[in-house]
Symmetry: C2
Subunit: 256 residues, 2 copies
Amino acid sequence: MTRGVLLDLAGVIYDSEIAIPGGIDAVARLRQAGLAIRFISNTTRSSKQRVLERLEAMGLTVTNADVFTPAHAAREWLLRNGRAPYLLVHPGLAPDFYDLPDRDKRAVIVGDAGEAFTYAALNDAFRELSAGAELLALATNRTFRDADGELSLDAGPFVAALEFASLKRATVLGKPSPEFFLSALASMDCPPDQAIMVGDDAEADIAGALRAGLSGALLVRTGKYRQGDEKRFDPRPTATVADLAAATDWIIARRD
Amino acid sequence: MTRGVLLDLAGVIYDSEIAIPGGIDAVARLRQAGLAIRFISNTTRSSKQRVLERLEAMGLTVTNADVFTPAHAAREWLLRNGRAPYLLVHPGLAPDFYDLPDRDKRAVIVGDAGEAFTYAALNDAFRELSAGAELLALATNRTFRDADGELSLDAGPFVAALEFASLKRATVLGKPSPEFFLSALASMDCPPDQAIMVGDDAEADIAGALRAGLSGALLVRTGKYRQGDEKRFDPRPTATVADLAAATDWIIARRD
């Protein structure tokens, strides 16, 4: 029986800030069917506040507690481990790291920094790691679908670069970290084997959710999806469907 | 019996364009002892012409055929495989890729591009790879000793980033590729088991040379050497010595 649904945002609900047709209506249908929903995003170019405003502008009402972002997980990690952040993130994400206490020890936090991934910034981060900082990856996605419709480099390649240089392994906070899926599910009291994930990233969303123990993971052919993605990573999606509207049909038809 | 010696350049002969004390004299002593010498460098910020001029200015006379660089190996690879270069290299290296024939198919060539490693340049290279280009790494060194005396990011981390994003494996042309060591040895008719490598990079120079079958590899404590490097990578150096002068003593004392 399915009681909870985790939805990715970019590529599932919207694309380049424009709602994907049928998506907002699909969320309403899932809610009407009595399913609990959380939004679980690896997008690290906007603050959570900005994400909520974007969804509101599309006609989707969500509360702060409905949305799980890696930056929030990183804040909790920093507080728990007594470290201050050294940010290698997009300027739009920086507000999520305001107001953290000063600490002697640091952690390099890597998000999808885009143009802010300069040689100088990467080299400074590498030197922080050499001096003892820990390495935190908000996400390890390889690519995202850029405004021109083509795939562009996401945070993952730059995390790989810093791991290679520093001989350190990153702690991954966003998808595909099992803890990230499980914390979203815990917030709605839903065990993983009664939950379905819907995403457009066959690796971070789909393989990640199935490894975390979710009962199903549906790959949508919107967003960054490219032909053949369903066979590129293991475990493979439970099903591959056109979009969130089709995923909703699939979930409601099989919910019991 | 030792008949041939391979010498790294940056960190062994010079540091930031300044000759390391005793190095030039050590090369003369190796030559006087009748040992054949080749210089084998992963430096990819200068053209080969510029490297030769730098050595000449330090009082070391070497011919074009004495120096092996990854760019030369890359030119040969491109001609052999019928591909045109897509360069992600330092501007100083570009002259080594002039005058190659036009081809439909391409290969992305990654060197130590320094500040030229912008997000836009890396993303363009990734899109070339997605469109079918092959990935060639001039080197995979993690770090080099920068002008300020600290370690900075070399080409390797950026090769790792592009491999991660494209799901392609790079063909490595410089050290630690066994072919690179063997082609330098072949040019002086010296079998690997009669040759010694001297370098400051425990991974690319030392482990690389020993994996290529050389009879010995001496790690010098100049250049990028950091305490503990001799234990960081396998196989470990045959010996660790102060500098090229000490390495020369070691080689001449044990040559038979």
